[in-house]
Symmetry: C2
Subunit: 527 residues, 2 copies
């Protein structure tokens, strides 16, 4: 068999059975091999940023890598923003980048570029097999590298002649790395555990900052029990890659996006214990404001850095403290979170939109949240909604939300996906709608339309660059002309409607949740 | 003044007065400074690939750089594909990439990434001033570097604190490099001239391969005269960045895209003289087909590599040969090219579409051609159309056409721009339509809709990866659902209509040409 077929067979036997793709001429043998390896599902996208974001969404939900097929340097370039997000979410992704034939490179044909330089921006692992005999092994190694831990983007650069040459055999799956510290069971260091227990017993103000795999329901439940027993607070990072939440689950506080609010939130803490989250820093720098967000005297202790270690570390800690899971967390949970009623009337404010989401979200839903300014209420209002997963913009690169929703829907075909998408952000990867329609993905897309880069209007003041002039404001304004998302959706084959009041939005949302396949609601938010 | 204002003032005084932008928080001081530097025109785009492609289009037509404002690594990533095209077109572009504040970098905030690695893929010059005192000089140097020659992408990485710090003064324009070989007037080497003249006098089969600035009308005219006098052929590269053509101008042959056709076209040549074009190589590699396209015994001589040298070298050659411009070229020109009549009926084939374009193209039009398979007839049919510029996909990275049209329209507000855009390619940067509407750009967008990545269906066979299966074909098919470009255009505020027969298309085209501002025609091509 040729290299392409051996590559596909290796990927499949290594557990990678989905490929989000946007192929070109140099990838034609990979595409042709799909007919000989039916276990690999190809999902066509109209733009590479859709493919890479979908692979991230797939990985966050399936906990295993999808592959992405990209066309040379420019195709990889188009995928970079969402590969950046995948990297920051520690999502395993196998990026296959087609390249010119090895002997063609020296001719400097028009599409020649430095793929390695591009890949190094987002990938923890890059390889370019020079011959067909190296390809299957490199593919198996790419999958193992993608798994990590931590999960990462592994980029396999695939020269066209390596792909089309005959004589290849599929490789066996490669051995994966095991998490944790060498020689320590489960990767948790006994001294760190002892320190954490001592902090929590000291009575000094302490909090957990939780992120990564620490945001799974079981870990949060145990942290809630520890919190009840010790008085420590549990705070999740601002933009978790994936958090399991909703009715019956422990709901942590959420660290504020705005540095000044986060500073107030963390003020007075003597200890911060990190569980799968990095230490809290400001998203951007601002004149005369600190980048580091913990109080000056606060001691930071890293209990677990991610992967499997969060679960092991937190249960070990509970054991050390003699905390049993269950009851105390229940008590903590009761405080304050009730499922809202869907709005029956009134204007469509972002608060009303949030209530409708909290009331109507179906059990097992997956929320892809790129709602930026308008969506904050939806998070608060869904703490007691039916149990669901919430996926946030961990890496900060705009254009994630719609592709992520597509990938999550492909990973979890039995679950409803809700994409909460700001109008400005939606336009970066709007082509995702077509793939949703093509795949019949069960995605409800809600466009929060405020016709502005609202966060930038806010940031303009926060960076002390405020101006009375109109020319700067025009660069942050999405009107003139207004975007019409109902028409955009229709152009890509998606049923769509516009909601301009709260009751109408709630009705549209409920109907979309009840209807198989994708649909879009343009929610015109009252500013 | 702060760094941002000094940067804008330096750019303006260096001749850069247009900025295509997609800013974020780290760029807010640049945006705010627009109100203090009204000579800089800000053009907002909804996606960075639109901004970078527009800067390329601007540079090709204005022959000076525009600037592009991008948001950190992910923003630059989104711009990479069209910066690649700009690089391959030798277009001068100043890319300003906002970055975190210098002191914020060590905190590894979510948007931190290796901007230099990304930039190095597409830029001939990269600098990241470490303090406000370095910024204005770096900005002036960036403009000079962008000019080249050859023109290139110069990337200025702009830390937020460098942008907001006070105490800056604008810098004077930097001295630009002069084209050509040191010590030789006009950059043309006497020995090379002598060789070229000898080749042309030898009577052996010879051709010029023309690209870059060799495709300007004046140079082509002189080459036509030389061709008439010596029997040499004049062939332009497959995808010229910009060629001046149409009635009254000398029309060269065009090198075929398909390697096997190009081989036939060049067969029998003993000499190929390069004027601003690289030696001809296959766009992609194919099994058992050569990458190098000249006949085995053909000698290749580089007369001029680009920039100003093409014009000087070609007129020097004419002088050496004793060829006077004018009459002979007229004779050569008369051979075969007549302006077609617009179709009055019949199906909308790509041939009929081409005839309508040839018949109706207004004088001074600028054609942005990303029509891929369906547009070949339009090139042939417009050889005797009113004089116009034709901009092709020099770098091969899909998603160029619509942004390039926007940039060309901003550069040349008195001229009509025609974007000939394939449906598959259009979707990579479809957000350009919104900026066309916002700027009231005089662009006629024609979507050649064949509902397929038609070129890939052809390439599947050419790379000998043909398959009887349906799964591969599905990855090259744009149906299911069909894209509706009339709705997509409406969603971004552009008047649009659909044409399904030849007469209807011709009428729509004529009306669009006659109506100020942008509009879109979805041409449903009979396959």
């Amino acid at each position: 068999m040729n290299g392409a077929e051996a590559l596909l067979r290796t990927l499949v036997s290594s557990g990678v059975d989905t490929c989000f793709m946007n192929p070109g001429t140099s990838e034609m043998h990979f595409v042709a091999a799909l007919d000989r390896v039916p276990q690999m599902r190809g999902v066509l996208t109209l733009f590479e940023g859709v493919a890479s974001g979908a692979a991230d969404g797939f990985a966050r939900m399936a906990e295993r890598p999808a592959s992405v097929l990209l066309h040379l340097g420019p195709g990889l370039g188009n995928a970079v923003a969402n590969l950046h997000n995948a990297k920051r979410a520690a999502s395993p992704v196998v990026a296959v980048v087609g390249d010119h034939a090895t002997y063609h490179e020296r001719f400097d044909a028009p599409l020649q570029s430095d793929i390695h330089a591009l890949a190094s921006n987002v990938s923890g692992w890059v390889s370019r097999p020079g011959g067909v005999e190296e390809l299957p092994g490199a593919a198996a190694a790419a999958v193992a590298a993608a798994y990590g831990p931590p999960g990462q983007v592994a980029t396999l650069v695939l020269p066209a002649d390596v792909s089309w040459s005959e004589g290849a055999e599929p490789a066996l799956p490669a051995v994966r790395r095991v998490a944790g510290v060498a020689g320590v069971a489960g990767g948790v260091d006994a001294e760190t555990l002892r320190c954490a227990a001592q902090v929590l017993r000291s009575g000094e103000p302490a909090a957990f900052l939780v992120g990564g795999s620490g945001c799974r329901a079981e870990v949060l439940e145990t942290l809630g029990s520890i919190a009840s027993a010790t008085g420590a607070r549990v705070i999740c990072e601002t933009l978790p890659a994936r958090i399991e939440r909703g009715a019956g689950r422990f709901e942590p506080e959420r660290l504020a996006y705005l540095g000044e609010m986060a500073l107030a939130q963390l003020d007075g803490l003597a200890h911060l214990i990190l569980v799968g989250a990095p230490a809290p820093v400001s998203f951007f720098a601002y004149p005369s404001k600190p980048s580091w967000l913990t109080p000056p005297d606060c001691k930071v202790l890293r209990l677990a850095s991610g992967g499997d270690t969060c679960s092991v570390a937190v249960s070990s800690l509970a054991e050390t403290l003699g905390v049993t899971s269950g009851r105390p967390a229940q008590e903590s949970r009761a405080a304050g979170h009730t499922r809202p009623e869907a709005p029956a009337g009134g204007p469509l404010t972002s608060e009303a939109l949030g209530r409708a989401v909290g009331a109507l979200l179906p059990e097992g839903a997956i929320v892809s949240d790129e709602s930026i300014t308008s969506g904050a209420h939806a998070w608060a209002a869904s703490a007691a909604a039916a149990p669901h997963d919430w996926l946030a913009l961990r890496g900060g690169a705009i254009g994630q939300g719609l592709p992520l929703a597509l990938g999550a829907a492909v990973a979890c075909p039995q679950r409803r996906v809700l994409a909460l998408e700001a109008d400005g952000s939606a336009m970066y990867t709007i082509q995702a709608l077509w793939s949703m329609a093509r795949e019949g993905a069960d995605v409800t897309v809600v466009i929060l339309s405020n016709r502005s880069y609202a966060i930038l209007n806010m940031e303009l003041k926060r960076v002390e660059a405020d101006t009375d002039g109109t020319r700067a404001r025009e660069m942050l304004d999405l009107g003139r002309p207004d975007l019409d998302f109902v028409s955009l959706a229709a152009g890509m084959g998606l049923p769509a409607r516009r909601a301009t009041d709260a009751a109408g939005f709630a009705q549209a949302l409920g109907e979309s949740f009840a209807t198989p396949g994708p649909s879009l609601i343009e929610a015109v938010i009252v500013r």
